[in-house]
Symmetry: C2
Subunit: 435 residues, 2 copies
């Protein structure tokens, strides 16, 4: 590559926003990527590497020579680097860490020691801590020097001699303050913090609730050990939504396009099989009424309608409850009121459906009024029960802190199926003599 | 109320974080709320009022006297006030606006003119704009005065003489710069902006993608007219997730705990009825095979199993596709690869289920091997089709930009039900002589 070309490429490429650099880089083939490695400094490439997904990082790291990689690691922010190294085989991570600066390597090792999905695992240690007696003018001077390295300078946390968190100052407060004021005069002492072992979802909730740009993380002893910034939390929210959708659709861990057919089938099969065995219970229920069925085969015709309506009504209720639990609105309304509301809704939906069908079924089945009455009254009963089941099951699961997957859509639907079929065939058997 | 009490209450209450003040206020009864109005200044209460939900704002505004309310409005940020006034009857909003300061009122009226759910509707007009020739030291001096009023001072946007957006400076850049540098020397000219009529979801995507704290909003003529901050976008993300969950569960607009049973039933009934009519199609499919059913009634026993398994498999695929569309990962992988992956997964899931059932069914039904073969081969075919349907339908809907509710879980499930039943009864009818 000629020096001229390198310069032209750098001018064009570095002009882009880092996010756009990442997008472009990902679209490159291997020889184009090689050119990027040659033209950019390790520090410049670190910005791109940090923007890649973990899978992509693992792929491209093999294309870098070790010296370049180590230099790049030294320019990466500690939390992103820890996330990446945590994904590598221990022996590889160890090799990289041994070749890095000792202080940085120790920071990373500390971060790697926290359990997955905790505040400690997603926090960064690159924050600026102030002392209570610092002068505003000195702090601003210090920021001039340290700003390029810190993850955020918009919130500065104040610690005492024991490094315990005692206050917070926003850069806005600093700008507005007089130069000769002390940090303790302008700091707010009502600091909301999270503990290093708190779940990442709780951290996200705190940041959302208070509209924070960052939240401090403290150790068991109350010492300030890191911060979590709002952009990290955005990623957590994405992850959690993916998890929730996996739960709701009984596809936990398999909502990922990158998996092969085989891996996807392996992860999804247990759910499908478990649900199929629940389906065998439905089969057992119908089996109990085989005599009724043999007498009037056309009863089977309405099985999908009864099952489907009960399942759909329950799913609607599930959506209401899952969303209320996530947004925390249920506490305000109360469980009693929710159940009453849902039962009321179920009865009304049942009435509407049964009214429509008591008229429709006899039209389709040349005046078979009794069949219409059976279908309609089953729907009324089944839909009323379905809303209550759809509300109670997730609430119980949530209360008992059992794995919420058991409350997912397909399980509640299958449960509602069984109850609906039981109701339908019981009513049909009772009225068999009129059919 | 004695002056002493007022002071004690204020000390306690104002010590809290605004978010916690809101939480406490909401838990108060009317007489306690009255005390809050008496003890706090309109500006202090504005912080609480801005933290309430729209429904609560509408309730509590009736408890305030008009002078207090107007003074409070003057202290609120323009975007929050516009959101609130937009919810009131026009005549009430008009009255309030006529009593406010003229400049503020005009700002609000401008905001109210933008269509719902656009960048213009969620942006704020309280931002700080710089000129290219401003000196860093002057900007910092100006920030000292204007910081308390601006929504954010962490990003400052640079405009030319025509008020067109030409650059952006972060407060971090300003702090690090020398006092005598000019804004144009330190500003970044690669500014990402959104247009005033862009959908709020696009605005959220831009902020998430670039990890911004705020994004500038420009008019058709390229003039800077407002900014959207990350905390506003967090609310948008919540709203969108609620909408998505409503779509997936066919409960659009009804995922709200505050609705009465009657209102909830009114919003949910159209979906349930529409799905019930689709259920009548399933009934029609089975009706076609009434002779087969009359000959072998026990075929009906496995209807729930076949339907359920096909439905569940399709729902899993739907979850994968919906999530990929939301995260934008599908473009990278490609539709062809997705369909191949899903078909492969469907075939494997079908093989696993049919293997298990070809052995289970004869055990339950004393050696009825043919029934086992019918159930197993139907499952294999139905599950293979179900994954493809679960992938193709949402993709088509997305491509055609039709209302995505039609691609929601219940609709795809019902479609898969019908196909699965058709397959099951066709195979059963073909093998009828061996049963």
């Amino acid at each position: 590559l000629k020096a001229e070309n390198i310069k032209a490429f750098r001018n064009l490429f570095l002009e882009l926003h880092p996010t756009d650099q990442v997008e472009l880089f990902v679209s490159f083939d291997q020889s184009q990527r090689q050119r990027v490695y040659e033209c950019l400094s390790p520090a410049e490439f670190a910005d791109i590497f940090q923007g890649l997904e973990l899978e992509q990082q693992k792929e491209y790291i093999t294309e870098l020579d070790q010296t370049f990689a180590i230099a790049m690691f030294n320019s990466m922010s500690a939390d992103d680097l820890a996330d990446f190294l945590g994904e590598l085989p221990d022996i590889m991570a160890e090799t990289y860490l041994n070749n890095m600066g000792q202080k940085d390597a120790q920071d990373i090792k500390n971060l790697l020691a926290y359990p997955d999905e905790t505040a400690g695992a997603i926090m960064t240690t690159e924050f600026i801590a102030l002392a209570t007696k610092d002068k505003v003018s000195h702090v601003l001077q210090r920021l001039k020097e340290q700003a390029p390295d810190a993850e955020t300078i918009y919130y500065l946390y104040v610690v005492n001699e024991q490094r315990k968190l005692v206050g917070v100052v926003s850069l806005r407060d600093l700008i507005v303050a007089r130069d000769d004021q002390l940090v303790e005069e302008i700091m707010s002492t009502r600091v909301v913090s999270v503990s290093v072992l708190d779940d990442q979802e709780e951290v996200a909730d705190v940041i959302k609730k208070y509209d924070f740009l960052a939240v401090p993380v403290i150790s068991k002893q109350g010492k300030l050990v890191g911060i979590v910034t709002v952009d990290d939390v955005m990623d957590v929210v994405e992850e959690e939504v993916t998890e929730d959708i996996g739960e709701i659709s009984a596809a936990r861990g398999a909502v990922d396009l990158q998996l092969s057919s085989f891996d996807a089938a392996k992860k999804r099969a247990p759910w499908i099989l478990m649900l199929a065995f629940l389906g065998l219970i439905s089969a057992g229920v119908i089996g109990q009424f085989e005599e009724t069925l043999e007498a009037v085969a056309r009863l089977a015709v309405f099985i999908p309608l009864i099952m489907g309506s009960a399942g759909n009504t329950g799913t609607q209720t599930l959506a209401v409850v899952v969303r209320s639990l996530a947004l925390g609105t249920l506490d305000r309304v109360g469980v009693g009121k929710l159940l009453k509301r849902e039962l009321g809704t179920g009865v009304m939906l049942g009435l509407i459906c049964s009214l429509v069908l008591v008229l429709t079924v006899p039209v389709i089945y040349d005046g078979d009024l009794v069949l219409g009455v059976i279908v309609a009254s089953s729907l009324l009963a089944a839909l009323s029960v379905a809303t209550v089941i759809g509300a109670i099951i997730p609430l119980i699961i949530n209360k008992l802190r059992i794995d919420p997957a058991v409350a997912s859509g397909p399980f509640i639907t299958t449960l509602n199926d069984i109850i609906a079929l039981l109701i339908y065939f019981s009513i049909a058997t009772a009225l068999l003599q009129y059919l």
